[in-house]
Symmetry: C2
Subunit: 439 residues, 2 copies
Amino acid sequence: MIDPLASPLLADLYEYTMLQTYLEQNMEQTAVFEFFVRRLPENRNFLVAAGLDQALDFLQNMKYGEEELAWLSMHFPAHVIEYLENFRFTGDVHAMPEGTIFFRNEPILRVTAPLPQAQLVESRLMNLINFETLIASKAARSVLIAKDRLLVDFGLRRAHGAEAGMLAARASYLAGFSGTATVLAGALYAMPVFGTMAHSFVQAHESEIAAFEHFARSHPGSTLLIDTYDVEEAAKKVIALSRKGLSIRSVRIDSGDLARHAENVRKILDDAGLHEISIFASGSLDETRLEDLLDSPINGFGIGTSLVTSGDCPWLDCAYKLQEYAGRPCRKRSEGKATWPGRKQVFRNFDSNGKMNGDVLTLDSDNQEGEALIIPFMKEGKRLEERIPLQEIRQKTLENYETLPDNLKRLEFAPYSVEISDLLTELAESVDRRGITSL
Amino acid sequence: MIDPLASPLLADLYEYTMLQTYLEQNMEQTAVFEFFVRRLPENRNFLVAAGLDQALDFLQNMKYGEEELAWLSMHFPAHVIEYLENFRFTGDVHAMPEGTIFFRNEPILRVTAPLPQAQLVESRLMNLINFETLIASKAARSVLIAKDRLLVDFGLRRAHGAEAGMLAARASYLAGFSGTATVLAGALYAMPVFGTMAHSFVQAHESEIAAFEHFARSHPGSTLLIDTYDVEEAAKKVIALSRKGLSIRSVRIDSGDLARHAENVRKILDDAGLHEISIFASGSLDETRLEDLLDSPINGFGIGTSLVTSGDCPWLDCAYKLQEYAGRPCRKRSEGKATWPGRKQVFRNFDSNGKMNGDVLTLDSDNQEGEALIIPFMKEGKRLEERIPLQEIRQKTLENYETLPDNLKRLEFAPYSVEISDLLTELAESVDRRGITSL
């Protein structure tokens, strides 16, 4: 059986057509590919690196099963199949740790491997890292706006398939969300899972108060959904049940004017002395709506569609580009898509308050002031360290946010300086000169 | 091992908290849920139903393994685990066949099953059907604009994870694309796969012409990527190789002013008598760009990001709502989110030219003129028919496009009439009256 989540056939066909020619031309020397984002989306002051853990798993476990080889053998000659039969990824990976803040043109992943290997893994590496980085970067905006309020991923139903639902839960938690509603993410990533009730639960009962009472009896300390019929009337039923001794932790409002309803409900509950029952809101929320609701008495938010689809910008302008082959630096010069050649490093500088105040993009061989952000993660196809626990990555991400200048934390645009080193500029020019003569 | 693509834990936690209460309250009578889209996105004149095949697979194979039960038993009482140990979905499914054109409020899937079952499957059914319908509906726009030009899905790298890449390939093919670049989609869905070469292939060579020659020798009749350095210069190299007897089927341009480059290249190739070499374009394309390029000599297009993310609108405003429980019709009345109660049917009328000219949304028990679009697909948990081959669904979709009024085929907004039957309006009013008294 082919496992679609791990299969090396989860690749563009051209990876295999190129493989065939590389093998036939004995082009198996060392290639260096880097993954980076060409430019930030309009509404992102920074990006948050994510997806490395899944990328390393993919590389370390990559192999061809019988069914995969059978399909390929219908389309490729025997020598390609022979090469793949015992295929293992034997390359090195350098990367920014997950949760690192980064900017345009800064590589967050570098693969150093024989050319056929480094090329074959392109599609799936991009597929994983583009998506998790996209979601972590989107989630970061809500986290920085919501401050200490509870934020829960509610997006599974509108995520783009199963893996998107899972990885969105992981990436948003990594970026500072409190947890997810997706059970399987709780089971597989050991992250907190939150759940309430659906409107259908209320509707399946003859009356709303019966639904509330049944639910509160099954689940002491639970959250009741109060907007199926009339929010304020439902809040009064919560009081009645509370007086009967049922334990209710919070109420959820999922529609209408959330701020107005929350104020009404807060007053209704407070007047009854139920100050400890919190208010949770959901329904078409994103970081902009969150900002509008900060003055309301809402204690937590469920964010779904806009988070898991990165609704305002559902992709990154990312690339996985050949930067060096057989010791020779490479550069793509296509119009509007030119790239920086060579193996690169990013150095980050901080001011006396510990705030980031400028990066330098340079060659890996260079030595600049500041913190080097790209470090080794895999050597000859094996992880160098154990998997970092997700909670630990999340904690580190929150610490990284502390180093952000205040203007970058806001939703409005703010610039950040990424300097290109002289060394890198000179290399690009020399590659261009060589390139023109080689036409 | 848990299979994330089939696990019943791929669900929101509230499905399980509600399950517990349903079991404790003996609420296991028949529930009817329907999946529909509340309103069409701004740039869609119609939607194309897709994802049913995956939904039926999920329902028919749904079961709990040891690891899943182990996780659940840490969070739920023993009677819930006992219920799930031998769980099988035993309900009925009615739906519009994949490839059916539909509009707002028209259900495309109806689940009739004991309430706990119908509720448990909510998240994954929505996750599958929202996404495939989203992509099929996006793809349809390009298909109707491009007419007989080749359209290939190039989106895997920016799709939201593995399953999104796979299902986007399937949904776009179903909607009339010619095929995909994703190898695994070719292997698992038996659909056409297309591949060319990457810029890295050209860059890994000392010269562009060496790259072209090596590739054409490995792959007679292949496509050469000609924009790594200078498009027009590269086109001249294609001529030189052609004169050496190498077989080249087409050239791909991936950057810059595609129309201008294509015209230059067409002239260069035609002047050399190479009329049969076709031009393929890619790079940030969508249906709007396609429309601009219709007068250019481009013969085919690779469409990636905008297709597989449905870039202009990455989700549908869809819902899976309880419409009836224990024979009692239900209706959600939340502000801005009210729904039509009861089991429904859609009847479609056609004019004398075979063009669609109005739908009626009514109750399943009603009998209106026109074609009934919702038909049975699953009875007591078993598919009623064999899986329909994907090619057959695609053919049917193309036939459905023939019934579209011309104005709905264009990119500009055009309206379509969906009438609500008197019977349905009356039922909604009676549910509202009952609802108010039951508060």
